[in-house]
Structures are given as structure tokens and as C-alpha cells.
Amino acid sequence: MTTLTKESEQPEHPEVLELDRVTIRFAGDSGDGMQLAGTQFTKTSAVAGNDISTFPDIPAEIRAPQGSLPGVSGFQVSFSSHEIYTPGDAPDVLVAMNPAALKTNLPDLPRGGILIVNEDEFNETNLKKAGYATNPLDDGSLRSYRLYHVPISTLNARALEDSGLTAVQIDRCKNMFSLGLTFWMFSRPLDTTLRWIDDKFGKNKAVAEGNKTALKAGYHFGETTEMFATHYHVPKAKLKPGLYRNITGNEATALGFLTASKLAGRPLFYGSYPITPASDVLHELARFKRFGVRTFQAEDEIAAVGAAIGASFGGALGLTGTSGPGLALKSEAIGLAVMVELPLVIMDVQRAGPSTGMPTKTEQGDLLQAMFGRNGESPVAIVAPATASDCFQMAVEAFRIAVKYRTPVIFLSDGYLGMGSEPWLVPDIETLPKIDPDFATDPATFKPYARDPQTLARPWAVPGTPDLEHRIGGLEKADITGNVSYDAANHDKMVRLRAEKVARIVQDVPDLEVDGDESGGLLVLGWGSTYGVITTAVQRARAQGKKVSAAHLRYLNPLPANLGDLLKRYDRVLMPEINLGQMRLLVRGHYLVDAIGLNKVSGRPFTIAEIESKIAELVG
């Protein structure tokens, strides 16, 4: 797909080469501003009309010593002239700001790839910190890459010597220099970033000017030196017409929950305890005070979910959010919400576990915890967004189900979706269906545990409603009256009613659609954040004439009504998951289909190549 990584003759004068897709990775010390450079490159490419997909690779939260291997922070952005679904397997271009960044990222750069390094940082101390015995810029070990060593620190400092900034401030601008350089390489305009700098540093004119100067200096360096023989152009992608913005999964999630609140006409209450990688949703929602959003930074995970349940009891849209370890702490309270049958949404942005695991790395390891991680027969609905922008729709869906069925719903995102970004076709709010809270108000007919015949939902009677005073709680409830009951037959009935209620949500779950053939050959079945890689790998395999189709689950409990029939129509079913086969266990259990697993639990997403090679292994 990408021609960049092919060995090519370098012409004497710069020429413009058209490419259909490029993947760049910015890597440096966590203090080097690589996330920022990557984000700006993304915005500019999006505005330039490319389809984009990004993924940040952030070290453990606590800042590691400067120049050390654990302190390396990376940001990968892929931009393309056609629709893309992943941030790319391997970068075509690696920008390494120091030896540690080179050491940790070089293994991902294919031979022949472009390597831009800041040679100023390749001094004895930094080389030692990165574990290099000799300087890789001199010892010939990088011979198989297209290496450009640029004295970025020096050039940047020289460009800013009259800026009036301190040495430290000047050094901080060097990410802008590198960004400017890559902007030139890929024919990107500077205006989006220049505007952003003014917005960000507007109050501090000198810093704003410094950053702008560094950006331009990097760009002009590319233009005027003969160093880069080629620069590249990636034409606009043909996306569905409409208004777009770039969005991360966590941002889309926050907007989805906010939108659900608007659609329901009920205030949103978010109880949360800070945890990586879910905290961004708290930060986002905390900004939305003018929408009436109440955010409650609780003393712990349990208080966060408890407060959300209390808010739900009062008629708000109760929401709590966390990552895996926090979900474990919330288990008992989620069980309470199952028992009292109130709407509640629990967001889990999954990360690598068990225990504290690897907080900044992604995983799909919480599915079975979400399904079964409570005492007793305690069913909840589960939805899982497939892409960063899909987080918006599935967040709305989570509340639609929670309100309609008076049930907890777990929204299962992950670090890859939450932190990754892609273009989002901004929806027209007017076209989104309303969510009806349908509060009980009539004392003549009110029974706390009477049920809607179609959904089996019980009435939502909020305090403040005259003559509907009633008591709920975690003790087993008598059918209809909701009084405490230890009656054997009643308990059996209530357990089955709660299970049946969640099963009936299938009425609101769209049938699973297949990308490819309706039957025969191999079906690759995924869920959640693997959508991009699976889709791309299957499309490539189909282009090679292989009989492979893909289907992707976004409703995990209950599963779509047509899934059982669909699975039986294929010769074989492959299920790639970033865990040891949790959905496969459920699918086998539900449908007695002998699905094959492709499992990876390294804290990183699948590459397209990994899926492709498994497909090749199965269908030749």
C-alpha cells in the first residue's frame, strides 16, 4: 500500500511524490512534547482532507528520568487518501528525538523506512542511558534505513536566539521544529498549527512567537537544504460528505453521554475516581457545567458508583466510569443496581491487567468481569464501541438501553479506543431519537416492581413524586410489591425475571451485518477496538481472492439475535481478541460453535499483518 518504504533512487532535486498512505511516528522523551507534535500533525492532516487514525504510546504515568528507555513517549498517526481503519502497523517515518527513543522504536521501522533523528542528543550520556555502546549514527548499524540526522536542538536554538526566551523555553520549542520539518516533507500547510499556537499561548506573546518561529524554521530547513531529496503528497480521501472533526474515543464517549442527557431531558451525573486511561472522560465532562452536568470526583471507586446510583434514584442519568481495577471495586454496587433495577451506565476503559497491570497499555481483558464479575445471578447489558468515533453512538446507546430497561449497562471501551483518534462525522442532533425517561406518576396504578409487559422494566418513580413513596434495596424483592421477600418461589421467579429482562434487550439490538459473503469460507468475528485491523485485514484478503468475511459485535450482552444462525453459515470462525479468548468462550457456550482464537495480550493492539497471516494460515 505504501510506497514510501520501498527502496528508491533519490533524485538530485526535490520532487513531489504522491502517496496514498503514510504513517509517521514521533518518539522522544516524555518531556519532549511528542504527543503535542503528533496531535498537531493529525489535525493538520485532517483539515487537509486525509482520513486519519492515531494512537499514542504513553509510558507509565510517572515521568521516568530524562533520556531513559522507560521515559520514551510516542505518537503514531496514519493519514491516507482513502478510508483507513487503523493507525498503521509499522511507521514509514520515525522521528526519534534521542537515543532512547531510537532504541525503543527502531524495531518497528521496516528496513528502508525514513529515520529522522536529532543528532544533538546523541551524546555520550544519552547513549549510555539508552544502552548504546557505540553511536548508532556513526557505526553503520542504521545503514538499511534512510537516515537523516539533523541537529534539531542546535538549529532550533539558533532560530530562537533573539526570541528573548530562556534556554529552557527555547529547548521546549524543538518539537515544533521537528513538526515543521515533517510538515514540509508531507506538504502540509502550517496555518492550523499556527492558529493553535496563538490560542494556546496567546497570553504569553514571546512563547507563542518562539513556537511559531521554531515551526517555520523546521519547515524552511526542509525546503532549503538538499537533505531531503523528495517530499511527499497524500491527496484528499474520499470520505462520506459532511462536516468532520478529529476526535479521540474518550472525547467521543463524553460527548455521547452528554448527548444522551440532552435526548432524555435529564441531567447527567458522573461519579468517578481518577484512573488511567479513563480520566479524560472526567476532565471532559467537568467542563460541561453549563449543560447542567454534575461531576463528582469521589473518594474512591465505590463512592463514585454509589453516588451515580443515588443520582439515578433521583431521576438523573447516573454514570460512573473507570478502568479494570475500578470495575472490580464497583462490583457490589453494580449488583445493587441490578437488584433495584435503576438505569445506570458504567464505563470501563479497559487497560492491561490483572491487578494494576499496565495502566497506559490496552487490552480487552475485562469482558468476563463485565459479564460475570458480581455475586449471584446478576445480569447486565454490555455494549462495546468499535472505533474512536463509534464511542459517541455507543455511549448514547448505553443510556438508551439503561433507561428503557431500567438496568445497569456496561460500556466497554479500551485504552486504544480512548486515546486513539479519527475523523468524526458530526451528527445532526435533530435526527437522533429522544430517550423517554417515562417516570411513574400515577398512584392509582403504581407498584414498585410491576413490569412493562414488553420490556419487563419496572417503573422509575423518583422522590418528590406525591404518593409514590416506596422503599428499594439490595434484599430480594417480592414480585410486584417490591417488599422484602425470602420466599423460595419468589426468589426463583425474580432471578429469572431479571435475566429475561436483560435478554429482551435484544429487541433493541440491530442484527449483525457481514462485510463480505453471506455464507461459506471463513468468518472473522471481532468485538470492540479490533474493528479497524480486522476490517483492513479481511478487505486485503478478499482483494487477494480469499473467501473471508468479517462481522463485528458492538452489543455484547445480549448478543444480536441473528448471531447464532450467522455463525453456522460459515465453514470456520476466527475470533481475534486482545485477551486469551473471553468472547470466544461466550460464543462457544451460547452457540456451540467451535470458533478458533487469535489471541494477543501484549498491551498493544493487533497489527493488520498479524490478522492477515492468521487468515492466510486458515484459508491459504
Partner: protein, 344 residues
């Protein structure tokens, strides 16, 4: 009273029986909880709140059954977590009167963290802690307020963990209202519940509650009628701290210590501490919270009642301020934050 909130009675006047639910009360006969329930039901009509605006929220334990017996909205939740549910409800529905019913194990053991934080946030709740210094529902293990060395089923050789003083914990957690009462003193208990309601902010009331099955007479040596006057002191705002059947003893400050003095022989009322529940400095309230029999008379009444902004008011103000200064939120404008582009 600086902390009073004024509310006019609304609607038809209610009586105690309007607050009695149709559920059979299932505490052991003779339990102190009966009195607490009765006083609570008696006080409710006096508060002038529409019944539908009252919510009782509890955790787990004998005391936490109370919401089932109140004909109001109620939520019997999970162990220790009532303050969290109450915080979510009150901060999103400030117009409701939200009561938390808890016990010594529920509030100070499994829910210890939540008690600290609900108090420091000053959420306008009435938190009534039934303290019987034992685990009753689980049939007689020691609790975080059981005295050191207590022999119970789970401590046959005596406990080795030092008890908490609920009122000291509350004061340490920045509580704005701290009071104590006794199950058997119906009048005093009613008064404390009323005061708790009138306080705008988190009101913490410890009620000595007798568990006649597993810890009978835990408080009798100072609460029994015949000794009460000599072994307890009734705190009254603005009054010198006097106690005793003959009203002949008092409390005096000696440096950083409270001491018991006999009036006469040159010691007069003027030497005694005058109780001021509105002191911002919590030092004296804290000293009072540590007074145990027999060294001291055990204080009942309001130890502390100070005015601070409540959590839900501050939350509402932030929302109001944001709407006034930034304009009411429009989704469209948030959707289009940052750079946008159009694909034709």
C-alpha cells in the same frame, strides 16, 4: 440559631402515623432502635416537609432496616455505602430532605472512608448513627466502637483494637454539625433530630442505642435514670457547663484540658466553660467529644454547629455561574470544538 433553615409547613398537616409504613418492624423486642424509629416518625410532621420530599437511605446492619418502616422514599443499600448514594441524590436533587441511617460498623468500619468524605464535603444530609458498640445483625462480634478488651464471639480473649470515638472522627473530618443523644431519652432525641434537620450542611448525630441481646446495658452505667444527672452533662448553647443532681459541678478549662470542678469554695459559674457550639475552632468540641465516664460526665447535645457552604449549593452555583457567563450549553457548539472540515 445561626444554622437554622426556615421552612414553612406545606400542604395538609401530617401526623406520626402518616410516616409509618405497612411493613412489620422486625427488630428484637426491647431493641433501642424502636425508640429511634418512633422519635423519627414523631419528628417528621414537625419539620413541615412534604412527605414525598423525604428520603431515608441506609447501609447494612440492624439500624439500616429503618427505611423499610418509614412511609417515605427509602433506599436500603449496601454495607457502608449509604453516604455515597445520599451524596449523589442530594447533590442532584437539593430540594429533597435526605437522611442517612447507619450504625457503628456500617459508618465507621466498612464505610469509614465515606463518612470522612461526606462530612468534609458538607453535603446537607442528616446522618444518624445508631451506636450500640456491637455487631448485632451478625450476632455479636465486636465493633469499631467496642471497648478495648471486650470479650465477644469473635474476641474470646478480649479485643486488642482500640475503639473509635464517633464524634471525634466527625470533628476531625470537618463536620459542621456534631451531636449526641440517647435512644431512651425520647424528648432529647427528638430535639437533636430537629436540630440536625435545621442545620444546613452535613449533620452528624450519634445515638447511644442499647442492643439488649448482644450488648445489653452498654451505656447503662451513665444513662440509667438514677445516675444520669451525675454522670452525663446536657450541653446547652450559651450556658455554663454545669451538671449533677444538685447542679453543683461543672467543667473548667485548665490549659488545654477540661477538668471537673465542684462549685463553691471560691469556684463559681463564672469559672466554667460557657458552651458555644458555633465556635469555628473545633478544639473545645473535640475535647468534649473525648470525655468518657468515669473520668468525666458524658456529654449529650450539640457539640458543634457551624455554618459553611454546602456541597450541593456550591455545585449548583458553579452550574449557574457557568450558564450565566458562558451561556447555556448547546451541543452543536461542543461538537464543533477544535478544527473542523467539510468533505464535499
Amino acid at each position: 440559631m445561626v444554622t437554622a433553615k426556615r421552612r414553612e409547613p406545606i400542604g395538609p398537616s401530617l401526623s406520626r402515623k402518616d410516616f409509618v409504613s405497612d411493613q412489620e418492624v422486625r427488630w428484637c423486642p426491647g431493641c433501642g432502635d424502636y425508640s429511634i424509629l418512633a422519635q423519627t416518625q414523631k419528628v417528621m410532621p414537625e419539620l413541615g416537609i412534604p412527605r414525598e420530599n423525604i428520603v431515608f437511605i441506609s447501609g447494612i446492619g440492624c439500624s439500616s432496616r429503618l427505611p423499610y418502616y418509614m412511609n417515605t422514599y427509602g433506599f436500603h443499600s449496601i454495607h457502608g455505602r449509604a453516604p455515597t448514594i445520599a451524596s449523589g441524590l442530594k447533590s442532584s436533587r437539593p430540594e429533597l430532605s435526605v437522611w442517612v441511617v447507619t450504625g457503628d460498623g456500617d459508618a465507621l468500619s466498612i464505610g469509614g472512608n465515606h463518612i470522612l468524605h461526606v462530612l468534609r464535603r458538607n453535603v446537607d444530609l442528616q446522618i444518624v448513627l445508631h451506636n450500640n458498640e456491637i455487631y448485632g445483625l451478625t450476632k455479636g462480634q465486636y465493633s469499631p466502637t467496642s471497648e478495648l478488651g471486650k470479650r465477644t464471639k469473635s474476641s474470646p480473649y478480649g479485643t486488642i483494637d482500640r475503639p473509635l470515638r464517633p464524634l471525634s472522627v466527625a470533628i476531625g473530618a470537618e463536620a459542621t454539625f456534631v451531636a449526641r443523644s440517647i435512644d431512651a431519652d425520647a424528648h432529647h432525641l427528638q430535639r437533636m433530630l430537629e436540630r440536625a434537620y435545621q442545620h444546613h450542611g452535613a449533620a452528624f448525630v450519634e445515638v447511644y442505642q442499647n442492643c439488649n441481646i448482644f450488648n445489653d446495658g452498654a451505656f447503662a452505667e451513665f444513662t440509667a435514670k438514677e445516675v444520669r444527672a451525675d454522670r452525663m452533662i446536657m450541653l446547652e448553647h450559651g450556658q455554663p457547663m454545669i451538671f449533677g443532681k444538685q447542679q453543683d459541678r461543672g467543667l473548667r478549662l485548665n490549659g488545654m484540658k477540661i477538668e471537673v470542678v465542684q462549685l463553691g469554695n471560691g469556684i463559681t459559674e463564672a469559672d466554667l466553660v460557657v458552651h458555644d457550639e458555633t465556635l469555628d475552632d473545633p478544639t473545645i468540641a473535640f475535647l468534649l467529644s473525648r470525655m468518657d465516664y468515669p473520668e468525666y460526665p458524658v456529654p449529650i447535645g450539640v457539640l458543634r454547629a457551624v455554618q459553611r457552604p454546602t456541597y450541593e449549593d456550591l455545585m449548583a452555583q458553579q452550574i449557574q455561574h457557568a450558564i450565566e457567563t458562558e451561556g447555556e450549553g448547546a451541543l452543536k457548539e461542543i461538537f464543533l470544538e477544535g478544527d473542523t472540515w467539510t468533505v464535499e
